[in-house]
């Protein structure tokens, strides 16, 4: 009630005092930098250090050439695979947390959150030790394989080259993104009306039918937001493909980085990064539209 009143004449002084610092910061140190690279994406290098903004679409055209389009499509596949793996790994975890006892629940949530507070670089580095040729995963595989091979007379275990492959990139992305998937799933499942599940089970539906026809439809907004918050950072990932990937597992972000740090083609890098941003916005828009449709259907039904 007071909000409308204070927005009137009496509060003009405080309004300016409250509004000016964040608005100016947002403009100067966020919107201006983005606007500059947006402008550069329509320009071309005239020399090593100067860029002429001519309004050309050449950089975007170049980004859609087979070579770069292939990398964009590949990045999308990596992100989609990561999201699918996180959904499969994370859904049972979210269910387990939802139905855990009140005493256990905060600890389980903390256990999922804690790796998320740990530095991304350190988590990625930890995986390098797991995946490299003399790493723990190969050591574990050898420990299982060699006794069996010994019994059956087969060949000894040859360590797999796991690091610097596409597999390592997706493995690393799943490792990093899993908490992002579990938390929205948990939030959606926790809001679920449990009497609906009990009713479904009482009326003779099995656990699987109840899951497919009651749990999933009701938790759909949480599933969709889990997918979006996993997909977006995976799509723009830089560090994971850089450290865990091989020469052919470049993702969009790595190509963008090269334009700025080694190839020195800022306009092209700017165009690529705006394409990445548009893809991100498209994913968010799709989620918002799905959520609205879901809401409307449930409001009417």
């Amino acid at each position: 009630m007071t909000a409308g009143v204070t927005a009137g004449t009496a509060a003009r002084g405080p309004f300016a005092l409250v509004a000016a610092p964040p608005l100016l910061w947002l403009l100067a140190f966020f919107l201006v930098p983005l606007a500059v690279i947006w402008g550069y994406s329509f320009g071309h290098n005239t020399s090593l250090v100067s860029i002429d903004v001519t309004g050309t679409w050449a950089n975007y055209a170049r980004a859609l050439q087979p070579l770069y389009l292939g990398i964009i499509v590949k990045s999308f596949w990596f992100a989609a695979l990561t999201t699918l793996a996180c959904l499969i790994l994370g859904f049972p975890v979210a269910v387990a947390i939802t139905f855990a006892s009140d005493r256990l629940k905060p600890w389980l949530l903390l256990a999922i959150m804690l790796p998320f507070w740990t530095n991304l670089l350190i988590r990625t580095y930890a995986l390098m030790a797991v995946l490299r040729t003399e790493g723990y995963l190969n050591w574990l595989l050898a420990a299982f394989w060699n006794p069996l091979a010994h019994l059956a007379g087969g060949p000894a275990f040859v360590p797999l080259g796991l690091l610097h492959t596409d597999f390592a990139v997706v493995f690393g992305l799943v490792y990093v993104q899993l908490p992002f998937m579990v938390l929205p799933l948990y939030a959606a499942l926790d809001r679920l009306d449990r009497s609906l599940l009990e009713a479904s089970l009482d009326l003779g539906a099995g656990q699987l039918t109840t899951f497919a026809r009651v749990v999933v439809p009701l938790a759909l907004p949480g599933i969709v937001s889990g997918i979006v918050v996993t997909l977006i950072p995976s799509l723009g990932a830089y560090l994971t493909p850089d450290l865990l990937g091989g020469t052919s597992s470049l993702m969009i972000a790595n190509v963008i980085e090269r334009q700025f740090k080694s190839a020195n083609d800022w306009p092209f890098g700017a165009a690529l990064s705006f394409l990445l941003m548009y893809l991100t916005f498209a994913a968010i828009l799709a989620q918002a539209m799905l959520a609205r449709r879901h809401e409307r259907r449930h409001a009417h039904g």
Binding site: T2, A3, T6, A7, A11, P14, V18, A19, P21, P22, L23, W25, L26, F29, F30, L34, V36, I37, Y40, G90, P92, V93, V95, A96, F99, L104, I112, L114, W117, N119, L120, L121, I122, Y125, A126, M128, A129, V130, Y136, W139, L178, R194, L197, E198, L201, G204, A205, Q207, P233, G236, Y238, L239, L243, A253, G269, S273, L276, T280, F281, I284
Partner: protein, 283 residues
């Protein structure tokens, strides 16, 4: 098939079922084994980091003798502290602005505030690289800590939206009648803010500060594009060590950062807990 025969456990007691327990245990192992081995091998005598040869603190001694690494660590903590302070002020002001006032363009501002959260890090990174190269060249010879200004500005820009989000969520539970009562009793806008709104906000401010501090301390990508040769942060330094090899020294340095982060999280959870308890006791 249905849960009816297992009434002792209850049909919704999913955690009582062994497949789910096994799955949960497997995922937790997946999340923690790499980190646990990383920490364990920071105490390993062997340099090769594969087999256990007995324990040692040598790698930690090496870390503490590495002046570049220590400087990078000090830089990281300084940037995180500065960025947290500024983000906290800007974020709180933003939250107050959206909560207290009606003004044209409010929806637009809310949309813009979501941008730092959703725009991919790499895009922000290159935007700041270009900004600090072409628009606002940051002098490289400034005395410490002014030379960290460019990185700090970049960190504030992606952090303060998160602070605004957390503080705004806390403001939603503020009882407006308290403010009216204070005004009736003759308190001015500043008194109301300092004595009534800020104490209510405290848990949100603590949570927001922790978030901003961790975001800054953890950031690699955006810092990677804004740091110069004399302004390395801890993640940038570790990155240059990690890029080609896995060594116990990196394990030791990483373990130290994990410990700092854990201590901060624990402190914040504790502070937040006691702040909430105090509010609950007072109310």
């Amino acid at each position: 098939m249905s849960g009816g025969t297992r009434m002792a456990k209850g049909p919704l007691d999913y955690l009582g079922r062994w497949p789910l327990r096994l799955w949960l245990g497997g995922v937790l192992l997946f999340l923690y084994v790499p980190l646990a081995t990383l920490i364990a091998f920071s105490f390993n005598l062997s340099k090769r980091n594969i087999v256990w040869r007995g324990s040692t603190f040598d790698w930690y001694a090496k870390v503490f003798a590495d002046s570049d690494l220590l400087l990078a660590f000090a830089n990281s903590l300084t940037i995180a502290a500065l960025s947290t302070g500024i983000s906290l002020i800007l974020g709180t002001l933003t939250a107050l602005l959206l909560w207290r006032f009606r003004f044209p363009g409010k929806a637009l501002l809310e949309g813009t505030l979501a941008l730092p959260i959703v725009v991919p890090e790499i895009c922000l990174g290159i935007a700041f690289l270009v900004f600090f190269a072409d628009i606002l060249p940051w002098p490289t010879e400034l005395p410490w800590p002014l030379n960290l200004g460019a990185i700090t500005i970049a960190h504030v820009s992606f952090s303060f939206s998160f602070v605004a989000l957390v503080v705004r969520a806390r403001l939603a539970s503020f009882d407006r009648s308290l403010e009216d009562a204070a005004r009736d009793l003759g308190a001015g806008e500043w008194r109301i803010f300092a004595d009534i709104i800020v104490p209510h906000l405290r848990p949100g401010l603590i949570a927001g500060a922790l978030l901003a501090f961790t975001l800054s301390l953890d950031d690699f990508v955006i810092t990677f594009f804004t740091s110069g040769p004399d302004t390395t942060t801890f993640p940038i330094k570790v990155y240059s060590m990690v890029r080609f090899s896995v060594t116990p020294e990196v394990n030791a340095a990483s373990t130290l950062l994990i410990v700092v982060t854990l201590a901060l999280t624990a402190a914040a959870l504790k502070l937040q807990g006691s702040a909430i308890a105090k509010t609950a006791a007072a109310g």
